[in-house]
Symmetry: C2
Subunit: 137 residues, 2 copies
Amino acid sequence: MSRSWWSGWRHFTRNTGLSMPQFSILMQVYYRGQCGISDIGEYSQITNAAASQLVDKLTQGGLLERTEDPNDRRVKQLTLTKKARALIDTGMNERYRWVDELSTRLNADQRRKFGEALTTMNEVIRDMDLDSAPKKR
Amino acid sequence: MSRSWWSGWRHFTRNTGLSMPQFSILMQVYYRGQCGISDIGEYSQITNAAASQLVDKLTQGGLLERTEDPNDRRVKQLTLTKKARALIDTGMNERYRWVDELSTRLNADQRRKFGEALTTMNEVIRDMDLDSAPKKR
DNA sequence: GGATATAGTTAAGCACGCTTAACTAAAAAG
DNA sequence: CTTTTTAGTTAAGCGTGCTTAACTATATCC
């Protein structure tokens, strides 16, 4: 397992043809909703140039739509295609499959505790996310 | 937080100068103990050539020692230097610092549940690791 | 002993992510 | 209206990780 995540990632990566930074951008748009190139750059801590290039590949791969913002024609609005959404959902199912495999190794008591733990973690982490999210412009 | 891990990784990466595959190899030797190039390759699912090259950089960086196995002079035994051990321990502390920060946001009850959850997860995951580990040669 | 297999190295070549620098176009400020 | 700022693109160049292919050196098989 200390094993699985990285090599599991590499498995996912090969199937989808996505690199980690690319996937990261997809997830960003997934959670943030529509946003511009600069947002991507800022979030990922890379230059806008780099962000632009990555987004470019994703649009070429049919995963992102890049349209002009009618209010400010400098900014491009990025949105996920259906293909991208499907892909992300698949990725999440992978994750849950992992959890499934894990849970077959648990006895009833462990499984219950584990479920509670995940729930708590989710709640707490959602809180943390909300705290740092609302950087609107 | 969905944010923190990847950009937190990038932070770690910049400070140490280590790439992810490089760090991955270090962790491998850390957990496996002494092993050869082929073991690295097999585990990381890359060719021995690639493994050799990565190990090369790590030895140049003073993180890995590469010595001959006296029993079979074809195989090189990889061992971590003190520097590498220190670095890994630091990395782990980083991780725990993250947990600390998280725990300041929890109330007493949440904190207790969370602690239990982590304990359970650790136990279970350790079991999974043991199951897949003992690939000796 | 000689053939074959195994562990590791080296070099050429490719794709990737990233940065800097030079650029375009639109918006905001004066 | 002109100047300056902001959003994004493009191209050159670098460091990586990776693969294939050719090679060396040791061990094993018959």
